[in-house]
C-alpha cells in the first residue's frame, strides 16, 4: 500500500483508492486516520463504509478531488445528478464533509 493513498470500501465491497489528502476533506475520515493509539486501520489505510452505496461513494470521492482543486483556486463546476442529491447530502452529513 503506497504511503499517501487510502482505500475506501463501499457497502457492496467496491474499493476506491484515493489520495490521503483527498480523503482528509472528510472530518470523520480524518479523525479516524489521525487518531493515535490507533485503529488497526491506520497502518493499512483502509476504511469500510458498510452503509454507503458504491454510486454515492464514487461521487463522494469525486467531490474530494473537486474540493481540493477549488481550494487551490481553480473554479470548476461540480455536477450532481438530481437523483443522487438527497443521498449525497446525507452521506456528506455523515462524513462531515
Amino acid at each position: 500500500m503506497k504511503e499517501d493513498m487510502v482505500k475506501l470500501i463501499s457497502a457492496e465491497g467496491f474499493e476506491f483508492v484515493i489520495d490521503k489528502k483527498a480523503a482528509m476533506v472528510s472530518q470523520t475520515i480524518r479523525n479516524m486516520l489521525t487518531s493515535p493509539g490507533g485503529f488497526a486501520e491506520t497502518e493499512h489505510g483502509e476504511v469500510t463504509f458498510p452503509e454507503i452505496s458504491t454510486t454515492i461513494l464514487e461521487k463522494i470521492c469525486q467531490y474530494f478531488y473537486w474540493s481540493l482543486q477549488y481550494a487551490s483556486g481553480k473554479e470548476t463546476e461540480f455536477h450532481i445528478e438530481p437523483e443522487l442529491t438527497l443521498e449525497l447530502m446525507m452521506a456528506a452529513n455523515y462524513l462531515h464533509t
Partner: protein, 741 residues
C-alpha cells in the same frame, strides 16, 4: 441505503451498543488485553450516535446522549481512577496522577470522536460546553479538586529536596505542573492559586532560613557566591519545569527573602572593603543579585559614590600636604606636584570607570554616582589653585616643548581625551577655557608648541564636547599664526623689492587679531632707533595690505637675538625685547643705576625688577650688580659684565612671566557678569513675563554648561537690569518681572 431502510434505534438498544464500545475503551486504557478498535467498530459507534441524534422526535436522543457521555466519564473516574489515586502519596501519587491524566485525555479524545456528531449540531445549537470541555471539567471537579492539595505538597517537598542537592525527576514535575495549567482551560487561575502561591511562600521561608544560616557562618564574598549559585538554580528550575509565568515572581521572592535579611551585611564599610580590595568578582556578583530588584541598587550606588568621593578627597589632601610642605615656592616642584595630582585623578577616573563598565554593567545609577562623586572633590581646588587651572596647566605641560611629560603621540591624544572627560565634572569650565587660552597664547607666540596637529586636535575635542563657542577664540588664535606666517612671507618680499625700506635688522612680525587673544598690557617701551625703524617699515607695509586697521605693538611678547661681545668670545643671547632694550642701554654707558634704567626704558617697577633680576642674579650674569645681593632694590647700580663667558655660543636668558592667575580670574568674573546679563535678557525676551524665582532658576540652568553662577550674583544682575530699564517689576505682583523692549 441507510436512509430508506433505517430502523428506529431505541435508546436502550442504542446505548447498550455504545456501552460495549465504551467498556472496550476502558479496558484498553487499563491495559487489559483487548483487540484494538477497527475502523468498522469506529464507524458503527459513530453511526449509532449519528442515527440516534438524527431520528425524528421523540426519538431524537441527543440530550440523553450528551448526559450519558458525561455520566460515563464520571462513572469511570469515581469507580476506577479516584480510588487508585487516593491510596497513594508523595512521588507515587504524582506518578499515578500523571498516568491517569494522560489516560483521561486519551479517553476524552476517543469518546469525542464517537460522539462528535453531537459536537457539530446539538451542542452548538444549545450553546453547551463542548465534549472536550465536559471531559476536562469532569476530571477537574472529581479528581483535581480532591487531590490538588496533596499533589501540591508533594511537588513542593520535591522542589525543596532538589534545593538541598538531591536529584529529582524533573520531567515528572513538569508533567504535574502542566496539569495545573491545563485544568485552567486557558486561564492560569488554578495554577496560580492552587500551586504557585504556596510554592512562593515555601520558597520565601526556605531562603529566609538559608540567609540566617549563611549570615552567621559566611563572609560576604562567600555569601554572595552561594546566593548567586542559588539564583542560577532557581532560574534553571523555571526553565525546566516551572511555568514561565512564575519566573519573575519567583526571582522576586528569592531576592527579597535572601537578600533583604542581609541588608545589614552590606553596610557601607562592607562594600567599601570590597572596593578597596579590588574584589571585582564579588562586586559583579553583588550587582547581578541586586539588580533583580532595582530599588536595592540605590544603596549600592550610594556607597560606591561615597567611596569614590573619599578616594578623590584623599588625593586632594595628598596634593595639598605636598604643596604646603615646600618651604619656598620652588616653581618646578609645585608644578610637579600639580602634574602628579592630575595624573592620579586620571588614573582614579579610569579605575572607577572600569568598575562601572565591568562590574556594574554600565548601569545608569552607577554612572550617575561616579559623576556626582567626581564633581564633589574635583571642584574643591588644591592649595589655592582651582582644578580648572590645574587641568589647563597639565595640558600645557603635555603640549609644550620641554614640558615635564615626554609622551608618544598616541599617549598625548589619549591623555588629552581623558582631560576632556574630566572637564565634564568641573563646574567652572569657563575658567579652564581662560587659563587654557592664556597658556595657548604663550605656546603659540614663543613657538613652544610641540605639535600643531595636537593643538588642533585638542581644540576639536573641546569643540565637540562643549560647542563652537567654547573654542572659537582659540581656533582664531591658531589661525592667526598661520596667517601671520603668510604675512611674513609677503613682508619679506616687500623688503627685498624696496631696498631703501630695509631696516637693517632681521625682523619678524606676528599680527594678532585682538578679539581672539588674551588682553595684554601694552607698554610704552622706549626702543632704540634701530628698532623704531623696523616698526615704521612694517607699518608702511601693512598699510599697503589693509587700511582701517590699527596696529598696537606689544613689546612684552617679543624676543630678540642679540650678540654680546664679551672679552673672551662673542655669545649670542636670546632674550625678550625688554631685556634687549635694557642691554642695549649699555652700548652707550658702562654703568647705569636702577633709576636711570627705569627712566630710560619707561617701564614700571615690576617689569624693571624682573628683567634686571634675570640679567644679574640668575643663572647667567650678563650684568654685574652692586651690591652683589640676590634681590633688586631701587638703589642698585649695574655694570656690563665683560668677563662673562659660557661653554655655549648661544644662550637663552629666561625671563619668568608674570603670574597671570589673578588676572585670569578677574577676567573670568567680568565675563560671567556679561554672560548672566545676556542670559537674563534672552530669557525675558522670549518669555516676556516671568516670576522672579523662575527667572533665577532658568538663568542658572542655562549657564550651567559653562559655570555655576552664584545666585546672589544673578539677583544682583537682575536688579541692575531693572535700573537700566531692561526689565521692570509688575505693579501688582512685585515678584513678576516684565520685559521692556
Amino acid at each position: 441505503m441507510m436512509m430508506n431502510q433505517r430502523n428506529t434505534i431505541y435508546f436502550e438498544q442504542g446505548w447498550d451498543f455504545m456501552q460495549k464500545g465504551i467498556t472496550k475503551l476502558k479496558n484498553i486504557l487499563e491495559g487489559l488485553p483487548e483487540p484494538q478498535f477497527s475502523s468498522e467498530d469506529y464507524m458503527m459507534l459513530y453511526e449509532t450516535i449519528f442515527n440516534m441524534s438524527t431520528q425524528k422526535r421523540p426519538f431524537d436522543y441527543s440530550q440523553q446522549l450528551y448526559d450519558k457521555y458525561r455520566e460515563s466519564i464520571e462513572e469511570y473516574i469515581t469507580t476506577t481512577v479516584l480510588p487508585c489515586l487516593m491510596e497513594k502519596r508523595d512521588e507515587f501519587l504524582l506518578r499515578e496522577l500523571v498516568k491517569r491524566w494522560l489516560n483521561h485525555k486519551i479517553m476524552i479524545r476517543w469518546l469525542s470522536k464517537f460522539f462528535c456528531y453531537l459536537d457539530r449540531y446539538f451542542i452548538v445549537r444549545r450553546s453547551l460546553p463542548s465534549l472536550k470541555e465536559v471531559g476536562l471539567a469532569c476530571f477537574r471537579d472529581l479528581v483535581y479538586q480532591e487531590i490538588n492539595g496533596k499533589v501540591r505538597d508533594a511537588v513542593i517537598s520535591l522542589i525543596d529536596q532538589e534545593r538541598e542537592g538531591e536529584q529529582i525527576d524533573r520531567a515528572l514535575l513538569k508533567n504535574v505542573l502542566d496539569i495545573f495549567v491545563e485544568v485552567g482551560m486557558g486561564l492560569m487561575d488554578y495554577y496560580e492559586s492552587d500551586f504557585e502561591a504556596a510554592m512562593l511562600k515555601d520558597t520565601e521561608a526556605y531562603y529566609f532560613q538559608k540567609a540566617s544560616n549563611w549570615i552567621s557562618d559566611d563572609s560576604c564574598p562567600d555569601f554572595m557566591s552561594k546566593a548567586e549559585e542559588c539564583l542560577e538554580r532557581e532560574r534553571d528550575r523555571v526553565s525546566h519545569y516551572l511555568h514561565s509565568s512564575s519566573g519573575t515572581k519567583l526571582l522576586g521572592v528569592f531576592s527579597y527573602s535572601l537578600l533583604n535579611r542581609s541588608g545589614d551585611v552590606f553596610s557601607v564599610s562592607g562594600c567599601c572593603a570590597l572596593l578597596r580590595d579590588d574584589k571585582v568578582e564579588c562586586l559583579s556578583r553583588i550587582y547581578r543579585l541586586f539588580s533583580l530588584t532595582p530599588l536595592w541598587l540605590e544603596p549600592v550606588a550610594n556607597m560606591f559614590k561615597q567611596h569614590v568621593t573619599a578616594e578623590g578627597a584623599a588625593l586632594v589632601k595628598q596634593a595639598e600636604d605636598a604643596a604646603s610642605n615646600k618651604k619656598e615656592e620652588k616653581r618646578d616642584d609645585v608644578e610637579l606636584h600639580e602634574q602628579i595630582f592630575v595624573r592620579k585623578v586620571i588614573e582614579l577616573y579610569d579605575k572607577f570607570m572600569a568598575y562601572v563598565n565591568d562590574c556594574f554593567l554600565n548601569h545608569i545609577l552607577f554612572h550617575k554616582a561616579l559623576k556626582e562623586a567626581f564633581e564633589v572633590f574635583l571642584n574643591k581646588g588644591v592649595a589655592g589653585s582651582s582644578t580648572a587651572e590645574l587641568l589647563a596647566t597639565f595640558c600645557d605641560n603635555i603640549l609644550k616643548k620641554g614640558g615635564s611629560e615626554k609622551l608618544t603621540d598616541e599617549a598625548i591624544e589619549e591623555t588629552l581625551e581623558k582631560v576632556v572627560k574630566l572637564l565634564v565634572f568641573i563646574s567652572d569650565k569657563d575658567l579652564f577655557a581662560e587659563f587654557y587660552r592664556k597658556k595657548l597664547a604663550r605656546r603659540l607666540l614663543f613657538d613652544k608648541s610641540v605639535n600643531d596637529w595636537h593643538e588642533r586636535s585638542m581644540l576639536t575635542k573641546l569643540k565637540q564636547q562643549y560647542g563652537f563657542q567654547f573654542t572659537s577664540k582659540m581656533e582664531g588664535m591658531v589661525t592667526d599664526l598661520t596667517l601671520s606666517r603668510e604675512n611674513q612671507t609677503s613682508f619679506e618680499e616687500y623688503l627685498s623689492n624696496n631696498s631703501n625700506a630695509n631696516p637693517g635688522i632681521d625682523f619678524t612680525v606676528t599680527v594678532l587679531t585682538t578679539g581672539f587673544w588674551p588682553s595684554y598690557k601694552s607698554s610704552d617701551l622706549n626702543i632704540k632707533a634701530e628698532m623704531v625703524k623696523c616698526v615704521e617699515v612694517f607699518r608702511e607695509f601693512y598699510q599697503t595690505k589693509t587700511e582701517h586697521r590699527k596696529l598696537t605693538w606689544i613689546y612684552s611678547l617679543g624676543t630678540c637675538n642679540i650678540n654680546g661681545n664679551f672679552e673672551s668670545k662673542t655669545i649670542e643671547l636670546i632674550v625678550t625685547t625688554y631685556q634687549a632694550a635694557a642691554l642695549l642701554l649699555f652700548n652707550t654707558s658702562d654703568r647705569l643705576s636702577y633709576q636711570e634704567i627705569m627712566a630710560q626704558l619707561n617701564l614700571s617697577d615690576d617689569d624693571v625688577v624682573r628683567l634686571l633680576h634675570s640679567l644679574s642674579c640668575a643663572k647667567y650674569k650678563i650684568l654685574n650688580k652692586e651690591p652683589n645681593t640676590k634681590t633688586i632694590s631701587p638703589t642698585d647700580v649695574f655694570e656690563f659684565n665683560s668677563k662673562f663667558t659660557d661653554k655655549k655660543r648661544r644662550i637663552k636668558i629666561f625671563l619668568p612671566p608674570v603670574n597671570e592667575k589673578k588676572k585670569v580670574i578677574e577676567d573670568v568674573v567680568k565675563d560671567r557678569r556679561y554672560a548672566i546679563d545676556a542670559a537674563i535678557v534672552r530669557i525675558m525676551k522670549s518669555r516676556k513675563l516671568l516670576g522672579y524665582q523662575q527667572l533665577v532658576m532658568k538663568c542658572v540652568e542655562q549657564l550651567g554648561c559653562m559655570f555655576k553662577p552664584d545666585v546672589k550674583a544673578v539677583k544682583k544682575r537682575i536688579e541692575d537690569l531693572i535700573t537700566r530699564d531692561y526689565l521692570e517689576r509688575d505693579e501688582d505682583k512685585p515678584n513678576l518681572l516684565k520685559y521692556l523692549a
